[in-house]
């Protein structure tokens, strides 16, 4: 691994510089503020980029041009939309439960921020390395659905309530498949820490080393995580043809933007988890064979940050592809898919993976 691409040198240098200026406690608080600011800016920037990407991808799949007026090739379109949402008046319906109504967008927004804290995007570019990284992400992302439920109920609107209920029934059941698919891979990695999982793939990504069960786990993870982020073809929580806008019907302005943004940030997070667990995080593409040392060495010259974000972008593109290709499912079809097909397949795959890990039949 090339040392010049390591971000921990930069962070260590900043830490040293700050330590020379002030006391340890003040250094800690300053660093927290810096990291928080960077995180907020990162999420805002990613939101703008991903919304634009979604619209461009949708246009591509529907043989349209997509946004093309604001800025060159329409790249400033989402910025203009964001400014519009920011300046809009915030309206609360009269019969809504004010406290819960205003709380819901924050619950929806905070959970992705928590989850982003443990994801390594590049060598050294990770906020904190918990020894339970993957488990922490599944734990905090299981709270995100509460925001949807509370928002749907507090709006005091039938559409919102139905949207929230649908979403809850779906997310709670698909969480099972996401977690089981991740568990299947944890058998191979032998650790829950995100950085250790990445390091365990220095000689090859788990999707290659773990062959058949890893591939099945990846497909299940992709389906279930698409459902968990409330995206099409599982977006019946906000099915616009039936429920106007589902759980966020009564939200406007920046509060609506929070719901909207959280969907895209959640997409970023599930793609990052898939990248870390199945595709080696920021690890370059390596083959676990003797004859491939030269090839592996060439791959090392591409920076880790390019690998990390490249793979995340690819999986996000896959999820956008799903959304604009498959028709929306009905609620009973969605629940059947989870409980009758994905879950049993997942359990069998789990056993298969344990067998393979026990016999050492992986690369």
């Amino acid at each position: 691994m090339n040392a010049i691409y390591d971000f921990s040198i930069l962070t260590a240098w900043i830490h040293q510089w700050l330590s020379g200026l002030m006391e340890p406690t003040a250094v800690m608080i300053t660093e927290m503020v810096i990291i928080g600011t960077i995180l907020i800016l990162f999420v805002a920037a990613m939101g703008l980029v991903l919304v634009l990407a979604e619209r461009k991808v949708a246009a591509f799949f529907q043989l349209r041009l997509g946004p093309n007026r604001v800025g060159p090739w329409g790249i400033l379109q989402t910025l203009a939309d964001f400014l519009k949402l920011l300046t809009k008046e915030l309206i609360t319906t009269k019969s809504a439960d004010k406290f819960l109504y205003n709380l819901a967008p924050f619950i929806v927004m905070i959970t992705p921020f928590l989850a982003l804290g443990v994801i390594p995007f590049a060598p050294g570019l990770q906020i904190m390395d918990l020894n339970i990284g993957v488990f922490f992400i599944t734990a905090v992302s299981s709270m995100g659905v509460l925001g949807i439920l509370i928002g749907g109920w507090a709006s005091n609107n039938k559409y919102s309530l139905i949207g929230g209920m649908r979403s809850a029934a779906m997310v709670v059941s698909y969480e099972l498949s996401v977690t089981l698919a991740i568990m299947t891979m944890v058998i191979l990695t032998g650790t829950l820490s995100m950085s250790e999982i990445v390091n365990s793939q220095a000689d090859g990504w788990w999707i290659i080393k773990g062959h058949i069960p890893a591939l099945i786990a990846f497909i299940i993870y992709l389906i279930a995580s698409t459902a968990e982020t409330n995206r099409g073809p599982f977006d019946l929580a906000e099915a616009e043809s039936e429920l106007t806008a589902g759980f966020h019907t009564e939200y406007g302005g920046i509060k609506f933007a929070f719901f909207f943004l959280s969907e895209f940030v959640n997409m970023l997070i599930v793609s990052s988890i898939a990248t870390v667990i199945f595709f080696g995080g920021w690890m370059p593409f390596h083959l676990p064979f003797e004859w491939a040392t030269g090839f592996n060495h060439i791959m090392d010259f591409i920076p880790g940050i390019v690998w990390g974000f490249g793979k995340v972008t690819f999986i996000i593109f896959l999820m956008m592809w799903f959304r604009w290709t498959f028709p929306r499912l009905r609620i009973d079809q969605i629940l059947n898919l989870e409980w009758k097909y994905l879950l049993p397949m997942n359990l069998i795959n789990f056993l298969l993976m344990s067998l393979i890990a026990l016999t050492g039949f992986y690369l």
Binding site: S95, D97, L100, A139, M143, V145, L146, W153, A168
Partner: protein, 200 residues
């Protein structure tokens, strides 16, 4: 620094616990309870016991709180308020809580806490996993298995309760009496004629 964080978390827990029991709107009470649960997991994080903190988040904040909110959604309306607590109830409840608090605080202050001098245990998931499935000294395999049997029993019970009596169903009829059967032998097997007569 750590002390301040502890005080912040403790005050969150105290304030929202109080609000949970005093709020007259049921969903707000559930949300306050959620805050209490999250702050509790924050204390576990502070103790460096990350695994238990994440378990607290998954099971309580992500599982039980969602379940409570979901059941509130199914059963109640936004404008519903719980009945006002009468002064007598308030007084007696407050007295009992006060007595309990005094008992606990006096016990804690009187007890002399001594460090047991044992080595610090490893809180990594690996060590916890080994302890959970080990049958040697300090192993927890028996309680672990007993709890899984309990969970299985709960699951079977839930299915039995949720399942409607199959014998009542008739292929020809489109409408079925879904009211809860009061007579004792409603769940006994019936012949086809009996079902037909019931449905008429």
């Amino acid at each position: 620094m750590e002390q301040y964080i502890f005080y912040i978390l403790a005050s969150i827990i105290l304030v929202f616990s109080y609000l949970t029991v005093t709020s007259r709107m049921i969903l707000r009470a559930a949300v306050y309870l959620l805050f209490v649960l999250i702050a509790t997991s924050g204390i576990y994080f502070m103790l460096n016991y990350n695994f238990l903190a994440a378990v607290q988040l998954t099971v309580y904040a992500g599982g039980i709180a969602v379940l409570i909110v979901f059941s509130v959604l199914l059963t109640s309306q936004l404008n519903e308020k719980m009945e006002k607590v009468t002064p007598v109830k308030m007084l007696s409840g407050g007295l009992i809580a006060f007595a309990g608090a005094i008992l606990t605080i006096s016990t804690i202050t009187q007890y002399e806490f001594v460090a047991n001098g044992l080595a610090e245990l490893d809180p990594s998931p690996k060590a916890i996993g080994y302890a959970m499935l080990s049958y040697e000294h300090n192993g927890y395999v028996l309680p672990f298995e007993v709890i899984s049997v309990l969970l299985l029993a709960a699951m079977v019970g839930a299915i039995v309760i949720a399942k409607r009596p199959a014998k009542l169903l008739n292929e020809d009829a489109t409408e079925v009496d879904m009211s809860f059967p009061t007579s004792k032998d409603a769940y006994k097997s019936r012949t086809k004629e009996e079902i037909d007569s019931l449905l008429k």
